[in-house]
């Protein structure tokens, strides 16, 4: 990513943050309309989880289908780590929202339960990776597992909570003004940029690690 693009991203995110605090009006239909602006941080994080999980699944499929290149496994692992990071951020911002709007940070609401299960699935991926020493076997098993995880992400992040919506505390008919749409999508665009940047850094470091591993193997 070019330096100009990074600086643009920095300014873009700062502007979106200013928008979330100063441009957004209080949202109607919430217990605390003024604090509902945390949605501007919560929803974009959830969208980036989907993107990172799908990206990880695509790299996992590429590893399995196209030549078993360990760099594809590394790309999948970095995207999975970022999906986990953004999933944690979604959970934390959701908990702040729940604390303000519903009086308790954790209510075992269907969406909260689903995101908890999703976090468990992502954590299991890293436990699985840590448990296999052989790099090729680890890459193959992890790729198959994350294909499953990437299918589960939209299921647990969107479809199941939508099906269980009548049981949810989440607002069903919240009337968000057009300003919310502008800020949420601006924030989403910025977060996608941050995801791409982090993915780039992570893959670069993984490439260095793989090169050093290959060199070590040659020396032995």
């Amino acid at each position: 990513m070019a330096t100009a693009a990074k600086l643009f991203l920095g300014i873009w995110m700062a502007a979106a943050t200013v928008g979330a605090f100063l441009y957004l009006p209080p949202a109607q239909g919430f217990m605390d309309p003024d604090m509902a602006r945390i949605l501007a941080f919560h929803l974009p994080n959830a969208m980036v989880v989907m993107i990172a999980a799908v990206a990880s699944g695509v790299f996992a499929w590429r590893y399995l289908a196209r030549g078993r290149n360990l760099l594809d496994d590394s790309k999948s692992m970095v995207a999975a780590a970022l999906a986990t990071l953004f999933c944690l951020l979604t959970t934390v911002t959701g908990m702040v929202f729940a604390h303000v709007q519903w009086g308790a940070a954790w209510n075992w609401d269907p969406k909260q339960t689903c995101i908890f299960v999703l976090l468990l699935i992502y954590t299991a991926y890293f436990v699985l990776r840590a448990g296999i020493d052989d790099p090729d076997r680890r890459a193959a098993v992890s790729a198959v597992y994350f294909l499953f995880a990437s299918v589960m992400t939209p299921m647990l992040g969107y479809l199941i909570p939508k099906y269980l919506a009548p049981l949810s505390l989440h607002p069903k008919q919240a009337s968000l003004s057009p300003e919310y749409h502008t800020v949420v999508w601006s924030f989403t665009a910025g977060l996608i940029g941050i995801y791409a940047w982090l993915q780039n850094i992570g893959v670069r470091l993984e490439r260095v690690r793989l090169t050093l591993d290959a060199r070590e193997a040659e020396d032995e």
Binding site: K6, A14, T17, A20, L70, K75, L198, R204, R207, T211
Partner: protein
């Protein structure tokens, strides 16, 4: 004064910290990669790892 202003300032400071950290990690990772490629065979290994593709 807008009561949200102190919160906004904290949020902007947090973002500035994250951004500075990302710039630093990005620069350091590029430097690491450059040093590795400068040593014998690094560039060839990188092409091998990429399978002839760029990221």
């Amino acid at each position: 004064m807008n009561p949200l202003l102190p919160l906004l300032i904290v949020a902007l400071l947090v973002w500035a910290g994250i951004f500075a950290f990302l710039m630093r990690v990005d620069r350091q990772s590029r430097e690491l990669e450059r040093r590795l490629e400068a040593t014998a065979g690094g560039g060839q290994r990188r092409r091998d790892l990429d399978g002839g593709e760029s990221l």
